[in-house]
Amino acid sequence: MIKKDLVIVGGGPAGMAAAVSAYENGVKNILLIERDQYLGGILNQCVHTGFGLGYFKENLTGPEYADRFTQKIKAIPGIEVSLRSFAVKLAKDKTLTYLRPGSLEVIRPKALIMATGCREKTREVIHIPGTRPAGIFSAGLAQKLINIEGLLPGKEVVIIGSGDIGLIMARRFVLEGAKVKAIIEIEGKSRGLARNMVQCVEDFEIPVYFSHRVLKIHGKDRVEKVSVAKVDGSMNEIAGTEFDISCDTVLVSVGLIPENELIEMAGAAIDKKTNSPVSKEVNKTSIPGVFVCGNSFKVYDLVDSVTADSELAGKQAAIYLRNSR
């Protein structure tokens, strides 16, 4: 079994900041495991700007922000990086099992920082009736298809949810030559940043329907249209307001869920509603020596906040390791 003081699960902005911070606070023997072939996590597919205004006082794109940290990590020999590495099991005693091409590894570090980010809420979670044709994507998957693979999911898009990811993708679709026919938002106002309403929606004159919901998705093999209606204060449809919007693609951007199945497996207390760890102090879990940072701890709006949170977690892990010697 390999010996490491600290293992960090997740090489996105949270994991990288935690690793650097832990090192700078005295932890010299760190393993950072990442499932993808590269560090950077979700930032790699966030080709737009808006990152780093707080932390670097610069307006960076996602990949540029990630690059700042991957450079730091490359320069620190005490942080070993294992790519294409998938954590599959975590035990209460901190034994972590992970898979990578060619091997199954087991490691029992003295402390762990989980930086496993979020997954998106899907159409099934928000119960949209109708058929299940091709052409329904979570906003994040659409982003990955367009920005990493160069694949255009569709030509006529309806976006459900006015959160930041949905708004960013609205712009992205237009820039790639698709038509965004509508953004449907159940609340009375946008859930995303006001700046995104300007630079993603108003700039391209995309119609937004506030206080509306999608009643049904139609289409046999591929999306054909959606039925939409206005809702009242209790989010129930107002009779007589229903109309259809033809489209071949539906983007679902209705929220993020922290990924904490690994620590849940290990017996840590999880809030059933938010899927976040329950802890007396920030970044701690109910298992001593196991910390959580970034979006898997709490869904943040800005990566700068993720970095700040993760640096704290790194520091706490360092303190824990010092005290447990």
């Binding site: 499932r35 998938f86 979670v125 693979e149 694949l151 569709g154």
Partner: protein, 488 residues
């Protein structure tokens, strides 16, 4: 093994038996017939097997209760239950015997349980007994405390319905059955020694035609010259809960049955997701697979009667199925007015359970109607098993990875599916994203493919030599993406 449309279909190829329909019934019959020295062809119109109604099955292997005594389906259900265990071992499919409880909430229902038990015993359903509140509290702790008694049927089990189809079909192919997917039968002409069949532009002959075409069995029978029954689709909507709730129930939970259905159940799939549903609604459109708000409401109401703690937020997936109803019972018979035609139609519940017994019955019918059934000297009883990481202990995973590094290359995070398993699935016939999902469970987890879709598309495109823009969800018309910038 599984071939695409038009490929290698010889002009006027002659089969002893052609089976129309690649669902669980068709593939079980194919496997049974593959024991004999016969030339057998299985034709499925969708791009992959099980893409008709079999994939939307709840996966329950019924013990045989709640079926009216005296019906063919009732007898075949009990037989099928026993046969499934044997075949599961030969075909290496995971069959879990979990037992079922038909739950009574008042004295009147409790009295009905006694009759159901009697009927079941007359059909030789083993192990039936009525259990009381104390037993229920101990053995099914999350069951509503309004339940006063239940009929316990220990031989109920769960299986993956589409993997059942694949396993039957693979073993049938191993033993010489020709399987053709993406091939739709266009015309059937009765001839002197059987039938001349045209499918997807190719013509061939068959001495016997087994019609196992599910929702379209009436159309196929009509094509062969017999219009004696109608298939009326009965829609069922069901919902899957997050696997975290796997141990919400220990047994399959049933309410008392109604006239047309077994009711809203709380069961689980063989992959560990609790399932609630299905509804039972007669519809007119054989392609109506829509989920409705009313359906969700009905299912939540019904399932909460059994398990009050069911949380709507735990729903992670839903699906609909259409039961092919042709009256109350199965239609399994040789049609004397069209010699050589064996109709196997109206196979609604308990069709999945009965499938192995149906296969035996159909083999018997063919024999009784002149088909010589000489057993093969070498029959490969055992299917060549594939590995699934999510169902084996980590120690075994380690060994697998040493054998092939691809087992350590994880593609689907939520269900722990490796690249090797994906490639294996493609070599066994997966041609679509749904096909990969059903064989490996990649995309079936809580993130619904948000993480793994791009990688799966790339592997499928690579292995099949097709461009990324041709990769579909479940066949032509359901392409995932519209444009590839790299190929502009």
């Amino acid at each position: 093994m599984a071939r695409g449309s038009g490929e290698n279909l010889n002009e006027m190829k002659r089969y002893d038996v052609v089976i129309v329909g690649g669902g669980v019934v068709g593939s079980a019959i194919a496997r049974e017939l593959s024991r004999y020295k016969l030339s057998v062809g299985l034709f499925e119109k969708e791009v992959e097997l099980a893409f008709g109604i079999s994939k939307s099955n709840s996966g329950i292997i019924h013990p045989g209760t709640q079926n009216p005594p005296g019906l063919l389906k009732s007898k075949l259900c009990v037989q099928g239950n026993a046969l499934t265990r044997i075949l599961a071992k030969e075909l290496f499919i995971d069959f879990k015997e979990v037992g079922e409880l038909v739950v009574a909430f008042d004295k009147e229902e409790a009295a009905r349980l006694v009759q159901i038990k009697k009927d079941g015993q007359a059909l030789k359903v083993p192990g039936l007994r009525i259990v009381d509140k104390k037993w229920l509290r101990k053995n099914e702790p999350n069951l509503s405390d309004k339940a006063i008694a239940a009929l316990y049927a220990p031989t109920a089990g769960i299986i993956s319905p589409y993997r059942w189809v694949y396993d039957f079909a693979e073993n049938a192919a191993q033993n010489g059955v020709e399987i053709h997917t993406g091939v739709k039968v266009d015309s059937i002409l009765p001839k002197d020694e059987g039938f001349e069949i045209t499918a997807s532009g190719e013509t061939f002959t068959a001495r016997y035609l087994v019609n196992a075409a599910g929702l379209y069995a009436d159309d196929v029978s009509k094509m062969a010259g017999l219009d004696s029954f109608k298939i009326k689709p009965r829609k069922g909507e069901a919902f899957l809960l997050d696997k975290k709730n796997e141990y919400m129930t220990r047994h399959l939970l049933f309410p008392l049955p109604s006239k047309i259905s077994k009711g809203i159940l709380v069961t689980r799939t063989s992959d560990g997701n609790p399932m609630i549903g299905p509804t039972a609604e007669d519809v007119t459109d054989k392609e109506d697979l829509s989920i409705t708000a009313a359906g969700l409401k009905k299912v939540l109401e019904g399932s909460r009667k059994l398990i009050p703690s069911i949380n709507e937020n735990s729903i992670i997936a839903y699906f609909t199925g259409l039961r092919p109803v042709a009256g109350e019972d199965f239609i399994i018979r040789h049609e004397n007015s069209v010699p050589g035609l064996v109709n196997v139609a109206g196979i609604q519940s308990p069709g999945l359970t009965a499938a192995p017994a149906i296969a035996l019955m159909v083999a018997g019918i063919l024999k009784d109607n002149g088909l010589e059934m000489k057993k093969k000297a070498y029959f490969h009883k055992y299917r060549q098993k594939e590995a699934h990481l999510f169902s084996i202990p980590l120690g075994q995973t380690k060994k697998l990875i040493k054998k092939d590094a691809g087992y350590g290359d994880i593609v689907c995070r939520c269900e722990m599916v490796s690249a090797k398993e994906v490639r294996d699935a493609i070599s066994r016939g997966a041609r679509t994203m749904d096909g990969i999902k059903f064989r490996t469970r990649a995309q079936a987890g809580r993130c619904h493919g948000s993480f793994c879709t791009t990688r799966l598309m790339k592997i499928l495109a690579e292995e099949t030599g097709t461009p990324l823009t041709n990769i579909t969800k479940r066949g032509k018309g359901s392409e995932i993406v519209k444009k590839d910038r790299s190929s502009d």
